[in-house]
């Protein structure tokens, strides 16, 4: 917690891509990240990958956190990662939470997702994980 003060606060966009509207998890994580000292932009529901990229750019975030419960995480992340690369925004890191089956985790990492937090991951682990990813990005 203490070292969070030493450099610029981490900025995170929490968003729900696609059509799924189950947002309890996304909101809880948003609260937890904020309590962990980060600046949280809550993107809300039904975001297209294009909208998420726009917001990420405008808000100059370090990390995009996606919450996906519908099972569509692979196609969504494929689109988002492609969009980041196309816009030259590869310094922004992407983390994913939600209903993510174990076998899909390596697939998401292969697509370039920096960390995956499947349902049931304790909040402190998520907060730490996001911070780690953001620090690595800031230092790179």
């Amino acid at each position: 917690m203490a070292d969070a003060r030493q450099s610029a606060p981490v900025r995170v966009l929490v968003a729900k891509p696609g059509l799924d509207g189950h947002d309890r998890g996304a909101k809880v994580v948003a609260y937890a990240l904020r309590e962990g000292g980060m600046e949280v932009i809550y993107g809300g529901l039904h975001q297209s990958t294009e909208q998420i990229l726009q917001t990420a750019l405008q808000e100059a975030v370090d990390v995009i956190g996606l919450s996906i419960m519908s099972g569509a995480h692979l196609p969504i992340c494929r689109r988002l990662m492609r969009g980041l690369a196309d816009k030259g925004l590869s310094q922004i890191k992407v983390v994913v939470g939600g209903v993510i089956p174990q076998p899909d985790i390596p697939r998401l990492l292969e697509l370039g997702v920096a960390a995956v937090f499947p349902g049931g991951t304790p909040l402190p682990e998520i907060v730490e994980g996001v911070r780690r990813v953001a620090r690595a990005a800031q230092e790179a």
């Binding site: 696609g18 059509l19 509207g21 949280v40 529901l45 297209s48 499947p118 049931g120």
Partner: protein, 545 residues
Amino acid sequence: MGVAKYSKDKRGAIQEVELHSGIKVKASYGPEDLERVGFEYQQDLGQPGHYPFTRSLHPLGFRSREWTVRQYSGFGTPSETNERFKLLIAHGQTGLNVAFDLPTQMGYDSDHPLAEGEVGRVGMAVDTLADFEAAFQGIDLAKVGSGLTINAVAAIMLAMYEALARRWGVDTARISATPQNDILKEIIGRGAWIFPVRPAVDLVGDLIEYATAQGHLPRCNPVSVCGYHIRESGATPAQEIAFAFGIAFAYLDNVMARGYGPDQVVERFSFNFNIFGNLWEQVAKFRAARKLWARLLKERYGVREAKALFLRGLFGGGGFGLTKAQPENNIVRGAYYALAAALGGAQTTALCSYDEAYTIPTPQAALLSLRTLQILMDEMGLRDTVDPLAGSYFIETLTKEMEGKILEEMERVERWGGMVAAVESGEVQRLVASQAFQWEKDLLEGRRVKVGVNKYTEGGSQAEVELHQYSEESAARQVASLQEVKRGRAQREVARCLGDLEKALKDRRNVMPILVECCAAYATVGEMAGVMRQVLGEMKEPSIF
């Protein structure tokens, strides 16, 4: 232990118990507690089947009829869903509960760019009447009732159900469908909303008016008000009931403002409530809710017909209580949740499957849930006598205290200016989300216990749960069949219907009759919802952070 909060002394004995709704539980109860809460036999309990219906809506409870079981199901193409429906009916399920995929729930056709990767994923894809024809093929619409889990486009889906009955020559007076049609809870807790709050509530009202006051669909329940999802989002059990009642009153007021009395409208409202959590709190919640609903309708709305005072509905699910850790524990939890539903006098029920924290249930898991419910009724004696906990000092005191809590929460809704205003401003969403966060912190810091999650975390299986695979192939089939239907229909008739829909929306006339025509002409869900989007606009989420 469990999801109530406990404080203990040094030796581990429980000192204090606080239920999620904020009610304190004592170590023991006696007649003095009934006196303390002002319990009166006739006014608070009475005979089963009589006002205020605390004990049961029917004099004989489950003796005369066991609960209706409506497991939520549907995936892939309509014909795949049809197979699952038939399987469930063959295994003794007595009603259907149809799951729609997200594009359908959001009013997009299967070939819309936003539908990519989502077609048939969390429910069945419905684009046109042809899909309903395939989904319900071989099912007698006059005999089997269908819950339609759809909200923003509920009016379209009920119109389609009517169009299907007409096409098959089934008397529309005999079809029984319950569209969820609860947009306010959708905005609070489930997220499949499209239109701005007020026009969306008008659409809910259109469907209710058409089915009830106008008498077009006398066996359809036009709305299922879902405290369920509000609870899943972080509300307490007392708030679950209070907010649901606030929502139901908003819909009732909307239709009454069109010049109808309350009885004929409200008598076919139904509710959907959740069953996870502390057993006693759930049972008291259901009993208090039944009583309070009857009382409020009678006292505030002047409802007279006894049947119009019934709090009817599905008490079931329990999704949020299930855990990803040690998934087999969910089988056991499910059985206890079902017990809460039975002891609470559930008229209709359903039970989430143990693998739902991971995935869309496998057929085996879905069947296990069905068997769990059947074992309660057929082996454990839950049909033996009505409201078996009645007269318990504890349960009657708690029921009375729960009633008080629900009323307190309803006053909060009134301070917000009613449920429509509270949803528009985001007040209720903010409260519920902050409570959800607090809940997680309570678990983390051990103030609440969840077995396998923050206590007894060792052991248990790490078994890989079998996954329901998304089929690109069946999504492609769905898109192909949509395109085929669009090629084969009478285009001019479709254009005329959609034009009439636009006019009806602009003139603020009830859209149901024209939606039935649109569906019969094989207009697509995306086309109809598209016209609505264009005229009504889309909702902008209120900021709650």
